[in-house]
């Protein structure tokens, strides 16, 4: 399916030509905030809803007055309602069903809506920033649940989170300032210069190229002397993706982070302030970027040239074929 979209009439918010959506595949629309992603998704909700059924997860889902259980079952037949309760259990909100829905936290509402939406047999599933309200510690688990549940369904996801692209996408559409910059199969787009550029604009991506092989249900990518363990089934030339926020720093020699499979020692080569965070670039054989708070920098007395320990959990790393 191909779409040409101009919103409003003069195209000042959105001027999309030839957007390709493939049924039974997941298309991830990737771009910075303000690129027009939500406008585009809302257009698709109406357009795809005209010829079939659409399940839509908004950035800030709304709960109707009543219990969480009532909201979970809205629009579901008894069989899919049972499925929704199973999913709610897996998402850790199965125990909240008796509570009043509007009083739940943003993250809890979001999980309920994910459970309800995945249980529906809609023709299209449209998701707006599905990971935004989820705590970082739980992202890996919820992303892998989405990955399995959305497999083979017709899905459109908009996000500015590079981990979502890596975990869910069959196809990627990069948009910026209301237009398509690039679109295609995930393997083709992620390796492209425009993806690297978009990821850099978003300021939280580590993209490391190397050779990957499966190991113990995970995937190990080697780039020079650096080994990175992550999620994925890549075998051969591949690219590892992880956010700069997922990277933690400590003073070298202050012990190992046993919960992280990926721990390295490196030297700080650059520091840049971005919003309330500082991006610290560390050379561990390849360059890795960590986003940390200015306070943490002072505590660790890190400066350019300091030797630091670098860690990132394997669950936060996604490895795809390049």
């Amino acid at each position: 399916m191909s779409f040409d979209i101009v919103i409003p009439a003069d195209g000042s918010r959105l001027r999309i030509s030839g957007l390709e959506l493939h049924p039974e595949e997941t298309t991830v629309i990737f771009g910075p905030n303000g690129a027009g992603k939500t406008t585009l998704l809302r257009y698709l909700v109406r357009e795809l809803g005209g010829s079939g059924t659409v399940a839509y997860i908004q950035q800030r889902p709304h709960m109707f007055r009543g219990s969480a259980g009532f909201n979970l079952g809205l629009g579901l037949e008894s069989e899919s309602a049972a499925r929704a309760r199973q999913l709610a259990d897996r998402l850790g909100v199965g125990g909240l069903l008796e509570q009043s829905a509007p009083s739940l936290s943003g993250g809890e509402k979001h999980r309920l809506v994910i459970a309800r939406t995945l249980a529906r047999s809609a023709d299209w599933c449209l998701l707006d920033e599905p990971m935004a309200p989820i705590d970082f510690a739980e992202r890996g688990e919820i992303l892998s649940l989405l990955t399995t549940e959305l497999e083979g369904r017709s899905v459109v996801v908009v996000t500015h989170d590079i981990n979502v692209v890596a975990a869910l996408a069959d196809r990627v559409v990069i948009i910026d300032k209301g237009s398509i910059v690039e679109q295609g199969e995930v393997s083709a787009v992620i390796g492209s210069p425009s993806f690297t550029r978009s990821a850099e604009i978003l300021g939280k991506a580590n993209l490391i190229d190397g050779n990957a092989r499966p190991a113990d249900g995970l995937c190990v990518l080697e780039s020079g002397n650096v080994r990175i363990t992550g999620m994925g089934g890549a075998d051969g030339p591949a690219r590892a993706l992880f956010g700069a926020e997922a990277v933690t720093l400590r003073l070298a020699g202050s012990g190992h982070d046993i919960s992280s499979r990926n721990t390295w020692i490196g030297r700080v080569v650059a520091m840049a302030h971005r919003a309330q965070l500082v991006e610290v670039t560390v050379d561990i054989g390849v360059e890795v970027v960590a986003s940390v708070t200015p306070g943490a920098l002072v505590d660790l007395s890190i400066d350019v040239g300091t030797e630091v320990g670098v860690a990132v959990k394997a669950s936060a790393v996604t490895i795809v074929m390049a």
Binding site: T53, A55, Y56, F64, R65, G75, S103, R120, A122
Partner: protein
């Protein structure tokens, strides 16, 4: 000032002097206005919701009719209902002229546009993400309307108050179709008109006090229903 003091005194006397008669008038007022409000909101609230959430052939026309109806002078509605039910009129054989039933018909006609218009505004004022959520659930139409009405409940409560306010305060229509017959179709507003025309201010003021008390009571009780209960509910 002396005159006003006298009038107030007369009003208090009127409660004891005309007590039983006044009670009849109050009961009829509450019955006619209450039934009219209930019927009016039963039609008006769903109508307003549908007008806001759906587009269908003729919906623009219905919206215009509702908007005009919200402000139409009650005497015009009374005149129109009177003509419809007049002996020689299309529904003359029903013999409803100068009965409480005709008063209810006129007042329902006044209540529906107000209930529909205020409801439409309340549903239209819901945040876009609420409407998007309702539309994204793939629900049958009646369930969609129920959710929207539930989310806009404080505005819909205002629609009930506004409809009741429109009918209880109204005098023109009930006067025309009811005829202000003592013991049969006389209500508080027409009583006030009747008595003040004859300079019998005491009973007019007494009726006015009752009218005010009814309006206050209705507003307070509906206001209580709308008050949020607990966090985020």
């Amino acid at each position: 000032m002396e005159f006003l003091g006298e009038v107030i005194g007369d009003a208090l006397d009127a409660f004891s002097e005309f007590g039983p008669e006044l009670v009849d008038v109050i009961v009829l007022t509450l019955a006619v206005s209450g039934i009219s409000t209930v019927l009016g909101v039963l039609v008006g609230i769903p109508l307003g919701t549908i007008l806001e959430m759906e587009r269908f052939p003729g919906s623009a026309l219905v919206r215009t009719v509702v908007n005009v109806g919200m402000g139409i002078p009650p005497v015009l509605v009374g005149l129109f209902v009177l003509l419809l039910f007049w002996n020689a009129g299309p529904f003359g054989s029903l013999g409803l002229v100068f009965t409480p039933a005709a008063m209810v018909i006129a007042q329902v006609s006044l209540a529906i546009p107000v209930a529909a218009g205020v409801t439409r505004g309340a549903v239209g004022g819901l945040p876009t993400e609420v409407i998007d959520e309702i539309d994204a659930l793939g629900l049958p139409a009646t369930m969609r309307y129920r959710l929207a009405i539930g989310e806009a409940r404080s505005g819909v409560g205002a629609a009930v108050v506004a409809a009741f306010g429109r009918v209880i305060s109204e005098v023109g229509a009930v006067l025309i179709v009811g005829g202000n017959i003592l013991g049969e179709t006389r209500v508080l507003t027409t009583l006030i008109v009747q008595e003040s025309r004859q300079a019998r201010f005491g009973i007019a003021i007494a009726a006015g006090m009752v009218l005010l008390a009814i309006s206050l009571a209705v507003n307070l009780s509906l206001g209580r229903l709308n008050r949020p209960r607990g966090v985020g509910v």
